[in-house]
Symmetry: C2
Subunit: 248 residues, 2 copies
DNA sequence: TATTATCGTGTAAAACTTACGCAAAGTAAA
DNA sequence: TTTACTTTGCGTAAGTTTTACACGATAATA
């Protein structure tokens, strides 16, 4: 098994190579279960996804998602948290299960069913915790031809994110705690791949009344600085609307 | 292994008891994978769910969802279709994966991770295909205290359905091919557990322009009969809107 | 033939969305 | 320090959608 030291040398993590996984899967009499994480970040006004170079020659060093087998005594959700922790060094990240992929031939090592999780992290935090130089952020628009069935997993998760962000206050996990409305709008425009009217966007968020004015201004911007806000998650948790309507 | 004959005697299906599953799980060196189906129907203006009496004494004959282990050479989705076919005799039913449940101790037989699927069937069709007299339709409002973690699986799927039906034309799978607007509204009211204005409901659906007027009337109703409609799935597939907005 | 329940249509007020104007605040360069 | 440039912050008018509510018509049944 590969033992890799983290970049800062403080933590050691044991991360499985494809060969290790293949051995484990082949020794299994049944179906192996894995977790794959689609980790999104937001940097330089672009939506990014964290990928790792596949260690399998057969897959010509294609990029793939971060994943691992689920331990026999490990909750499925915990396995996803563990992978995130091992790969990014981050605790408390936003993480949600999206879909489970179970086609018989989806994995070359044998029968592996995988549960895909979507994670949103603040790239500023992450930068302090780079643990593996085979990892790279990729612009989501340029992600093609991933290893295994990871392209289809990624596509599913990206569509999930696009829909989800319109209905839930997910996006704030991609931003610093304090952010300007411009940053927030850039985030939405990047994820939804669209342009919005600045004034209506602002009106919309103020009308929701979930933003806390920090009475601080942006710094180091080459133009008039905007106000900084925090999202009021507590208020949201209490007041979130139960929408009843039909729209398709 | 239990061999059960169908009610009409034409088909035989092999349906596993809990003991069988326990044996299979215990003989496995790893994680066992199962599928559980939450099968919804609509009858007498109430939303129903199809449950089976658990054969495990330990669970005091509580009701449980229909499930089975996934075969080593069986696609996950196909396993769900197989279970539906075995239990209801129906082919071509609406089926969608909802969530995978993987807590370590969720199943008493050992480590079993289960993928929950949601199915919507037309009860009229089903009635012709009763295969097992341990099966019963339950009013969703009165479903409590299911076996294993099935209550939580059911709750998740019911919430999923409530949300999903507002955004996608799912509900029509629960109705006959031809239906009146009143039936459609009753369906929505039952699923969402709410009351809607009859005139606005009608306006809403006509505005969508996905209903085909069959130029037929309801029969055997004790009042003025309403027109019958079909949902135009083809038109929907082409025209479905890509909504961009923020609302939470 | 009267009664009862539902069908089918319409309209006015309220709420929300969209499109766009403009003065003020700060940066950067002449 | 003045000017040009960019972005912030606020506001309004027009268009669209949602909501609340009324009434005559039609069929079953008593």
């Amino acid at each position: 098994m590969d033992i890799k030291l983290s970049a800062n040398g403080k933590k050691a993590s044991t991360i499985k190579t494809f060969q290790t996984i293949q051995t484990e899967v082949e020794s299994s009499t049944g179906i192996a279960l894995s977790v794959d994480c689609v980790i999104f970040g937001f940097d330089e006004n672009k939506l990014k996804v964290l990928l790792i170079r596949s260690d399998l020659k057969k897959f010509q060093s294609k990029w793939s998602l971060l994943g691992d087998l689920v331990g026999i005594k490990e909750d499925l959700d915990n396995a996803a948290y563990r992978i995130l922790k091992e790969r990014t060094g981050l605790n408390d990240v936003y993480l949600e299960q999206v879909h489970t992929f179970g086609a018989v031939n989806r994995h070359p090592a044998g029968r592996v069913v995988t549960a895909a999780y979507c994670s949103l992290i603040n790239v500023q935090h992450y930068k302090l915790n780079i643990l593996d130089n085979e990892l790279h952020w990729h612009d989501v628009q340029s992600v093609t031809d991933l290893a295994f069935d990871h392209q289809s997993i990624f596509d599913t998760c990206y569509k999930w994110l696009q829909k989800r962000i319109q209905e839930h206050p997910l996006g704030f996990n991609l931003l610093p705690k304090k952010f300007s409305l411009r940053e927030l709008q850039n985030l939405y425009e990047a994820i939804l791949n669209t342009k919005m009217d600045r004034r209506n966007f602002r009106k919309k968020f103020f009308a929701m009344d979930f933003l806390i004015d920090m009475n601080e201004m942006e710094k180091d911007v080459p133009h008039r600085p905007g106000k900084l806000y925090k999202f009021n998650f507590d208020k949201y948790a209490k007041k979130k609307k139960k929408w009843i309507g039909i729209d398709f």
